[in-house]
């Protein structure tokens, strides 16, 4: 099937308004939230129903055309980066909330539904959807599921995987399967849902997702504490968690981040070497008691200023400053590279020190903003793409930071995924055997490797992984053999 025929076939499935094929238009899809990698897809298709997704995938399977799913395109690891001569399946028109089932605490949505819409939908009933990535006003539930996204409240409430109850998935061969439970909390058999969540679009396309919603906590209190440097702030973090408190959120920002945020959204943060935002929620009495303890720990760690949010407006201001942090970097630097590593909480101080040294060595600024409670770092390497060589230098520095995380017993990514960006680091963390096992799982779902190929694994070895578009062997096509 040549390109013209493919366009025609897709138009038959989707109507002319569902197929993007002009070069200029395709270019707007050449990258996601990470602009470092760009590939122009052959076609972009915009399905409006699960049936259409199934037909699209079936066509791709029959013709051996690789495809990539895309939600809102805010991913930061190039997960939704198109493949050359492939089809990009964009799910932003599948944005219906299908079912709200308050008594069973669940909501069923299409994958293009934006994260925050779920909370909005059930707010009147006193419920909310817990995972809250900073991108929650724009990122899609499908993308959240594929990246196992987390947010500031994940320390206490867990990542997306803890809040997904089931999914309808179109597999790479066009078959539609349901994984996970229905209304009942657990289902017998292998826990495939756990494998699917966080699979970065390599195991199939989710077309319907059942989410768990939670009752809003009775009380919530938030404070902001300023410290001389990140080390002292880190001491407070250890003190709070070591004291047996599990805050709903505990976030740190360093001086450079504070500068950028002030410049952009002026939340009126104090001038400081580091700021912590600590939020507690739960039953009223417990929150009140623990809040006093948190204040005490901050004081013991020489906090220069402690601000307590007096009302929702002030709390919103604290969070506004935090959540605008990535975007605000645009105000102090032309380009930035978001790194995302996790280290054991006890290693935070050492790793931050290492990052500061690296920053000096490379002569590039690094801003730190992170989920301090679970040691999830987000160093932002600032650079200027127009200065020759600086982009490469930034990438190298970002790599060094990852190695530092690994050296200290950490991991490659906390929540942004491996995607295209970090696959080269996988061998640093995993042995060849580890990765073979992972690829065997992948092959079970996608034996022809047409579902988001070229991501996660740097050296594809199994199930006929090879670069470029997949072509089915004639014997296979004739149905004489299933797989080579």
């Amino acid at each position: 099937m040549d390109r013209g025929q493919l366009i025609e076939t897709m138009q038959e499935i989707l109507g002319p308004e569902g197929v993007i094929h002009e070069r200029e238009q395709l270019r707007t899809y050449e990258c996601d939230g990470l602009m470092n990698y760009r590939v122009i897809p052959d076609l972009v298709v915009l399905p409006e129903s699960a049936e259409q997704v199934q037909q699209i995938v079936q066509t791709c399977y029959d013709e051996g055309i690789p495809f990539v799913a895309r939600g809102s395109g805010t991913g930061l690891s190039g997960g939704a980066l198109p493949v050359e001569s492939g089809v990009l399946i964009v799910l932003t028109r599948m944005r219906r909330i299908l079912e709200v089932d308050i008594p069973n605490g669940r909501v069923v949505v299409e994958p293009g539904v934006i994260n925050i819409w779920v909370s909005q939908e059930v707010a009147d009933e006193g419920y909310y959807y817990a995972p809250d990535p900073a991108s929650q006003i724009v990122s899609s539930i499908g993308g959240n599921l594929a990246e196992n996204s987390g947010g500031v409240h994940c320390l206490k409430y867990g990542f997306t995987t803890n809040h997904v109850m089931g999914a309808e998935v179109v597999l790479a061969d066009g078959s539609v399967v349901h994984i996970g439970g229905g209304k009942a909390p657990d289902a017998p058999g292998y826990e495939l849902l756990g494998a699917f969540v966080g699979s970065e679009g390599t195991l199939g396309i989710a077309t319907k997702i059942t989410l768990r919603i939670l009752r809003k906590p009775e009380a919530v209190r938030t404070l902001l504490a300023a410290f001389k440097d990140t080390e002292e702030a880190g001491g407070a973090v250890s003190g709070i968690i070591g004291g047996g408190i599990v805050p709903a959120a505990i976030e740190m920002m360093d001086a450079l981040t504070i500068e950028a945020v002030e410049k952009q959204v002026s939340p009126g943060f104090p001038e400081a070497g580091a700021i912590l935002i600590v939020e507690l929620d739960g039953p009223e009495a417990e929150v009140a008691n623990q809040f006093d303890q948190v204040i005490k720990v901050c004081e013991e760690n020489d906090a220069s200023e402690i601000r307590i949010a007096e009302d929702d407006e002030e709390r919103a201001l604290f969070w506004k400053g935090r959540k605008a942090a990535f975007g605000a970097m645009g105000s102090i630097s032309n380009d930035y590279y978001v790194q995302d590593g996790v280290v054991p909480r006890t290693e935070l101080g050492a790793v931050l020190k290492k990052i500061a040294d690296l920053s000096e060595e490379y002569d590039l600024r690094v801003a730190n903003v992170f989920h301090a409670g679970d040691g999830n770092l987000h160093p932002l390497v600032l650079y200027d793409n127009d200065t020759p060589g600086e982009a490469d230098k930034a990438e190298e520095l970002a790599g060094e930071i990852v190695f530092a995380c690994l050296e200290h017993g950490g991991s490659l990514t906390g929540e942004h995924g491996i995607g295209r960006d970090k696959m080269k680091y996988m061998p640093q963390m995993f042995t060849a055997d580890d990765m073979d096992v992972m690829q065997l799982l992948r092959c079970a779902f996608d034996p022809h490797r047409i579902c988001n190929p070229g991501k996660i694994f740097p050296t594809p070895r199994l199930c006929g992984e090879r670069p470029g578009p997949f072509h089915m062997h004639p014997v296979q096509k004739a149905g004489l053999a299933e797989n080579f």
Binding site: I20, Q120, Y128, K320, G330, D335
Partner: protein, 486 residues
């Protein structure tokens, strides 16, 4: 003391809404509908093309500024408040996509039908400017892009003629008035309805139908004096812009503006004047818009004014930009800057001045609609609400999805009638949900658009007013009915 979360939403949501400049989480666009008919205008087959091709896309005269483009970090935070993204759900019709296309146009891609289509479909509502955490100045980017389009892209003949016609009428009150007279007759005898019934109207192209549907009931034009003295002690001497559309279709708003300003202690000058150039600026008609700007500066410059007061959001946002628009004009650059610094929206000015005149009660529930060129382009949200809330008895309701444009957007609803109609209906529905007795908004375009959307939905009974008309009624001690019976 421990606080409870408020019942309307979790605090996290509030914060997120705040982070994109929305008043509440409800303000963030949410469409649970499947794609709409107007989708045919973008990826679909319905849009006629001209085949014009120009490479590189931009010439050297003010191409979209690379530095401003580079401020965009591709985070996508602007997507959910962009009206066309809400309608179409694809990247090219999002701020991020449009900026991406500008960037590609700088070096890699031509200016052709595909590129221009997506810039044309932008409403210029500036919701993306509010939403962007990275401070991208989309207003400047789209303005220079549109100028390039007008210069370098050859539109189809019918498209060109239609646009030209708009610009031959709207900026000129005398011409508008000349056609307004026959329109009055036309309305009185219900000619539009008769044509529609006879099926003739359906055959007239969509754009003409859209224009016809927008025609408001023409009030008798209220003339305003050249000079009005202050009531009591003089606090300021101000000029007022009487506008083009405002003057012909909404002259009572101008009259109310003058009365309110006088009541608050201003000497009000209303010089003979032309168009401020807002419509031309937003359409990329550079020379024309600069001419209008220079003339407007001339009109007000020697009058020894403290401020120039504007009651139409679109005009105000452009006049505040004169300094930027005329930056290359050695003779006017400085004057324009000084002039822009004096320009105030009427609600903004009234709050700056502080109320002195006595407000009489007006027990009425009003829905306040944010005009994009006031809320997004000028950042004025609080002042008009305050102006209303200072009136005893007023209950001001917020409209869901306040951030999303009503589809009026200057001349947009005439040249892109399909998406505009969908946005209008969406807005009208959200307004009706408030249960308010009256709609209050600060822009003539929004009024026309909302009125015609309500009419289409069979709900044209709902009265509408500008904040100064409401204030005027309160200052004069008029009963609520005078507002509601308008």
């Amino acid at each position: 003391m421990t606080e409870r979360r408020n019942p309307e939403g979790t605090t996290g949501e509030e914060a997120m809404a705040g982070a994109i400049g929305a008043g509440s989480p409800e303000d963030i666009g949410q469409s649970t509908h499947a794609a709409s008919d107007s989708i045919q205008q973008t990826v679909g087959a319905a849009r006629p093309e001209s085949g014009s091709y120009m490479f590189p896309a931009f010439d050297a005269h003010h191409p979209p500024d690379k530095d401003l483009i580079d401020d965009c970090v591709h985070c996508g935070f602007c997507l959910p408040t962009c009206p066309t993204y809400v309608l179409f759900g694809e990247e090219m019709d999002s701020p991020r996509g449009r900026i991406y296309l500008m960037n590609k146009g700088l070096t890699e891609e031509p200016m052709n039908d595909e590129m221009v289509r997506h810039w044309d479909l932008c409403l210029g509502c500036m919701a993306c400017v509010t939403a962007c955490p990275s401070g991208v100045q989309y207003d400047k980017l789209i303005e220079s892009t549109r100028q390039q389009v007008e210069r370098r892209y050859e539109r189809r003949a019918d498209d060109k003629v239609f646009r030209e016609m708009i610009f031959q009428f709207f900026p000129y009150p005398n011409r508008l008035r000349a056609v307004a007279a026959p329109m009055r007759l036309y309305q009185r005898f219900g000619i539009g309805d008769k044509l529609r019934r006879a099926g003739i109207m359906q055959r007239i192209p969509a754009r003409m139908r859209a224009m016809e549907a927008l025609l408001p009931d023409l009030p008798k034009e209220e003339k305003i004096p050249d000079l009005t003295g202050p009531l009591g002690e003089m606090r300021r001497r101000v000029g007022v812009l009487t506008g083009c559309v405002q003057r012909v279709f909404f002259s009572p708003v101008n009259a109310a503006t003058v009365r309110v300003l006088a009541a608050e202690g201003c000497e009000v000058v209303a010089p003979k004047q032309g168009c401020c150039g807002a419509l031309s600026t937003h359409a990329g008609r550079e020379e024309e818009s600069l001419d209008f700007a220079r003339k407007t500066i001339e009109t007000f410059d020697d009058l020894n004014l403290d401020n120039v007061i504007v009651n139409a959001a679109g005009c105000g946002s452009t006049m505040k930009e004169y300094g930027y628009l005329l930056r290359d004009d050695p003779e006017y650059a400085e004057r324009a800057k000084a002039f822009s610094a004096k320009v105030r929206d009427v609600s903004e000015f009234l709050q700056e001045l502080g109320p002195v005149a006595e407000r009489n009660p007006l027990p009425v529930t009003a829905a306040y609609h944010d005009a994009c060129h006031l809320a997004h382009a000028q950042g004025i949200r609080r002042q008009p609400r305050q102006t209303l809330k200072q009136i005893p008895g007023m209950d001001v309701k917020e409209i869901r999805e306040a951030e999303i444009c009503c589809g009026s957007a200057g001349i947009y609803n005439m040249i892109e009638p399909e998406p505009a109609a969908e946005l209008g209906e969406r807005k009208a529905n959200n307004i009706l949900k408030t249960g308010a007795q009256i709609i209050v908004t600060s822009n003539p375009g929004c009024m026309l658009q909302i009125q015609s959307s309500l009419k289409k939905m069979g709900r044209d009974g709902l009265p509408m007013a500008h904040p100064v008309e409401v204030l005027d009624a309160s200052l004069r001690g008029d009963p609520v009915e005078t507002l509601l019976d308008k």
